[in-house]
Point group: D2
Chain length 131, copies 4
């Protein structure tokens, strides 16, 4: 993975009665790490939505749970753009607790406009993402 | 409480490591029960938002946790409109597990328009709510 | 898909500012549909955990989002066991809104005991699951 | 309010279709801020649960929503212990976005042991909390 990561701590609300982080919450973490990744390369995803009316919905998500995260664990979510096509984008994720890899995953996204139609990734956004 | 209730089952995702339903999820249950209450009196909250551009945000929420709910519990959320002012509305909630009262609460709401301005509750909606 | 399905309605809490069901919530729906599937074949997942101290954590989850679900949509989540190995199990999911397929996915699970060790799927559970 | 606060950013998952932070998520924020407050006064809530088998469930929660929080907003959640009785504790919360007060609330807690019985707040914990 590259140099981008977001440090996150497991919230009590994110645990389940098995005392693990509940499995859907990893996708929430992926999304937070994506937003941070955008910010790290000089993009503001919030402004992309609000000012340019472009959206990046998820078309596929995948997560492999190798070891559990537990309440109050402070972990690092590494993000990497593994594919950047004409109008689609793939983010890869790896979550480390201390030095241990606990989770891997990916999300695929389409760029769409306000009407929900797929559009080519704007060049300025592509340039930032691939820097 | 009146005759309106929604039957709900505790999801695994709603539990926490104490093996109780996590405390914020009761507000989610209240919201589901509110939607059902609207439907029961002939109102479609979704259409009120989409077609009439009226919204009913929460201005205050309160919940008292008397006994925990646990995974897979099948409970009844009773709803009652306890106050209906010019532009504000209060829902009261009681959650029963079998015959036992486990939770009470209320939510206060304002009617607002698309611009976020408070408006008087439309007469047709008031009529349905107070029937 | 087989005959097992769970009818579910999109909660307001499950929407996001794109006005779609937020992508991690589909995994919550999958879990609710799994619990119903267990119940439909005569198994009580809650009792399996509480009385037999067996757990079925997710080792991989996947979801493909073909069309969005929106607030108050009433959809059907079809479940099917597509693989049942010595100690692992795969559930497939298809979500239909009216007659339209909106979502597909799968979850892979390991059977583990109280100490977190993988164990063979008990014969009585296998018999129920594969009926 | 005192000197304790936690900086938090609104997650996409926390928004709803009104484009506001969904109302139950404020209670999640309160919980995160509580954990930070504990840490700030030298207590580790996770260890209190795991090593001492003491729990601090919520017996009442209240929240007043004065102004909405929106996606990506970076806000401060101030916490203060407003009451500390024999076995009960009250936390007050104020959320500020920039210099604007958006939200107030409180949570009341009971100290219980592993069997769910209320117990007096241990003296060492009280000392830390009231410092």
């Amino acid at each position: 993975m590259g140099d981008f990561f977001t440090e996150m701590r497991v919230r009590y609300s994110e645990t389940d009665q098995m005392a693990f982080m509940y499995y859907s919450n990893y996708l929430v973490w992926f999304e937070v790490a994506r937003t941070t990744h955008f910010r790290s390369v000089g993009l503001d995803y919030n402004k992309i939505e609000k000012e340019r009316k472009l959206y990046l919905p998820v078309v596929e998500a995948n997560c492999r749970y190798k070891a559990p995260l537990r309440y109050d664990d402070l972990a690092k979510v590494y993000t990497k753009i593994s594919d950047c096509g004409k109008s689609r984008l793939t983010f890869d994720y790896k979550i480390y607790l201390n030095e241990k890899l606990t989770t891997t995953g990916f999300t695929r996204h389409a760029f769409i406009n306000e009407k929900g139609k797929p559009i080519p990734i704007p060049e300025d956004i592509r340039t930032h993402l691939l820097q």
